[in-house]
Amino acid sequence: MTALSAQRITMRFGGLVAVQDVSFEVERHQIYAVIGPNGAGKTTLFNAITGIYEPTSGVVRFADRVVCAKFSSRVALRMCVATILCALSTVFAVNIQELWQLAIVDNYVYAQPFPWSEGVSDFVRAFADLFGTSGVITALAGALAGGGAAGVLWWRSRRTPDLIARSGVARTFQNIRLFNELSLVQNVLVGMDHRMRAGFWSALFRLPRFHAERKHFHAEAMELLEFVGLADRVHEAAGSLPYGFRRRLEIARALAGKPALLLLDEPAAGMNPSEIVGLMTLIRRVRDAGTTVVLIEHHMRLVMGVSDRILVLQYGRQIAEGTPAEIRANPACVEAYLGTETHG
């Protein structure tokens, strides 16, 4: 069972082809690295996988499942309901004055009890025979607008990053995107958000579920922060952290959602050698805890040291794939990075 499989992914921005026909598979509990010179399309590939961009062609499967809202019968049903509702409400809106006059104003005698049954029957009869005459056109217009809008809105929300994230995929970003105003704990708790059940009402009325969940997830967040070694400055603003800690906080936030698959985008960027060793142990412990890790990295010592398999990209194309040893020996990869010797 593969944790992640990408078939023939292509990503085209207008004329520029950023990623060309890349396919690869990552097994469960594996550490899989994606390397290549700057501008090889690594981050674009990541973004296409995690739903930030819509891949021009190709299919992505997470644990053998295509995470994309399919036009199931349930969706079709909701669409029809939306269209019918739109049609009815448009007709109602266009003729509201006549209906109100018939149903309420004509039946209501000032300061006397209102004959509700009569009012309702007048309304229903008037509304029904509206569809005989001009009402049909307004109904059609309403249906068209409502149905079209519902369709477009559904189509755009088919494969959003949050849908993919909720199916057990978490990621970090090349240039760190933390919630700088919020504290470390709050950043991590945002990562856990999709695992929480307490909703609007339990928060508003402070129901028992709210308190239970708060205690449970707060403890888990503190645990996670210790796991990445940030236990001491828990309530500071994320923005005030030094660079190395911000990287680790972002990893902690990604782990908060208990993902099956963790995608790290250049986690070692800007780290000194001792921090990199810490990072390597951290990645191994994450993998041992059961999470598959895919990382983009330039730091060869980290890549060669920790990854099980490596994919090499250049100018958006896949030029090699294999174990670290195979890749080290592969001339095409060396050339891609170090350029060719000039003969003579």
């Binding site: 004055q97 009012g119 994230a165 933390l178 919020l182 958000d193 928060a203």
Partner: protein, 338 residues
């Protein structure tokens, strides 16, 4: 940790004792009626603060939802229609009515970029006035709907004379709204709002249902605005003309939030006090004073103090924002609570 009273508790405390202090003051110095207006606008601005302060979605048409609340409340309770549900059921019903209106506007437009949404809400504010004016069979057009009932706590239905009853009712409702918003702010939902304000893409990558969270903020703001609309219709015992809920009201609410301190409840309360104070106490007293000197009423436009009001209002805004860009009481994000 010694419990030290936060700014909100101080403001509410001062407001509670104001009428008692006023008993000793001469009638001319009575400001409690104007301060009641501050409470009303504070509730409206707290609603706007949720959508613009917490979720970062600029809403330039909050007055439209206030109008929907006022007219919804009036239709449900006025004696010229058969519903007559009474004050308390009516005022509570304004919340779902406002939320529904927020949903109807929000559903198709919440995916838009920030400034597009702002212009759409601006347009919505304009057309709600038009629709209310045109559907005169239902809304009585520009005559507005009256009489709108008042609460009847303690026997008879209140009238405009029971000033202090209204004052304490509005203060109590304001406190309820503050507690409710604080509960939402310090919860999973509040965190989600802050996260989409900080970085929507990152919060989406963390699995937050961004559309639903935005819709909740939008509907909560609309519900509170409708609630404020119902209250204002009740205290004036009439909805007034549809054009009483126009762009100027939205702008006043927006300025309260931003001048006061966007994203902070205490800031909004202070902002309401300052803006409404400037508008209905300072300006009125200033013009009355100039009037007493016998100036005004002549052909020359410069001499009538009433003609200076726009300038004073506009200058106050520009200077307030320039001196305090983050507002008078900037938000202290509660990092302690989770």
């Amino acid at each position: 940790m010694r419990w030290r009273p936060g700014p909100i508790v101080c403001i509410v405390g001062i407001a509670a004792i104001l009428p008692l202090v006023e008993l000793v003051l001469p009638p001319a110095a009575h400001v409690s009626e104007a301060v009641r207006g501050v409470f009303l606008y504070a509730i409206l601005a707290l609603g706007l603060n949720i959508v613009t302060g917490y979720a970062g979605l600029l809403n330039l048409g909050i007055a439209a939802f206030m109008a929907i609340g006022a007219y919804g409340f009036a239709i449900l309770t006025c004696e010229i229609y058969p519903f007559q549900v009474g004050f308390w059921p009516g005022i509570l019903l304004t919340l779902p009515i406002g939320a529904l209106a927020g949903f109807l506007l929000g559903a198709p437009t919440l995916r838009l970029r920030g400034d597009y949404l702002a212009i759409v809400t601006l347009g919505f504010g304009e057309i709600v006035q038009d629709v209310l004016k045109n559907l005169e069979v239902v809304t009585k057009g520009t005559q507005g709907i009256n009489p709108v009932p008042a609460p009847a706590i303690g026997g008879t239905m209140w009238t405009a004379d029971d000033e202090y009853k209204w004052y304490y009712l509005f203060l109590a409702l304001l406190v309820v709204v503050i507690v409710a918003i604080r509960n939402l702010e310090r919860s999973r939902l509040g965190r989600a709002w802050f996260s989409i304000r900080e970085d929507e893409l990152a919060s989406r990558a963390m699995g937050i249902r961004v559309e639903r969270i935005k819709m909740l903020a939008f509907s909560a703001a609309a519900a509170l605005a409708a609630f404020a609309g119902g209250l204002s219709a009740s205290v004036l015992s009439s909805t007034g003309e549809p054009s009483n809920y126009d762009f100027q009201v939205s702008i006043l609410a927006l300025c309260i939030v931003i001048v006061g301190g966007i994203g902070s409840i205490a800031g909004v309360l202070v902002g309401a006090l300052v803006m409404i104070g400037l508008n209905s106490i300072v300006l009125v007293k200033a013009t009355a004073a100039l009037e007493a000197l016998g100036i005004g009423g002549s052909a020359n436009v410069l001499l009538s103090p009433n003609n200076w009001k726009y300038l004073i209002f506009g200058l106050a805004l520009v200077l307030a924002v320039r001196l305090k860009p983050n507002g008078l009481v900037p938000p202290r994000i509660e990092r302690r609570a989770t």
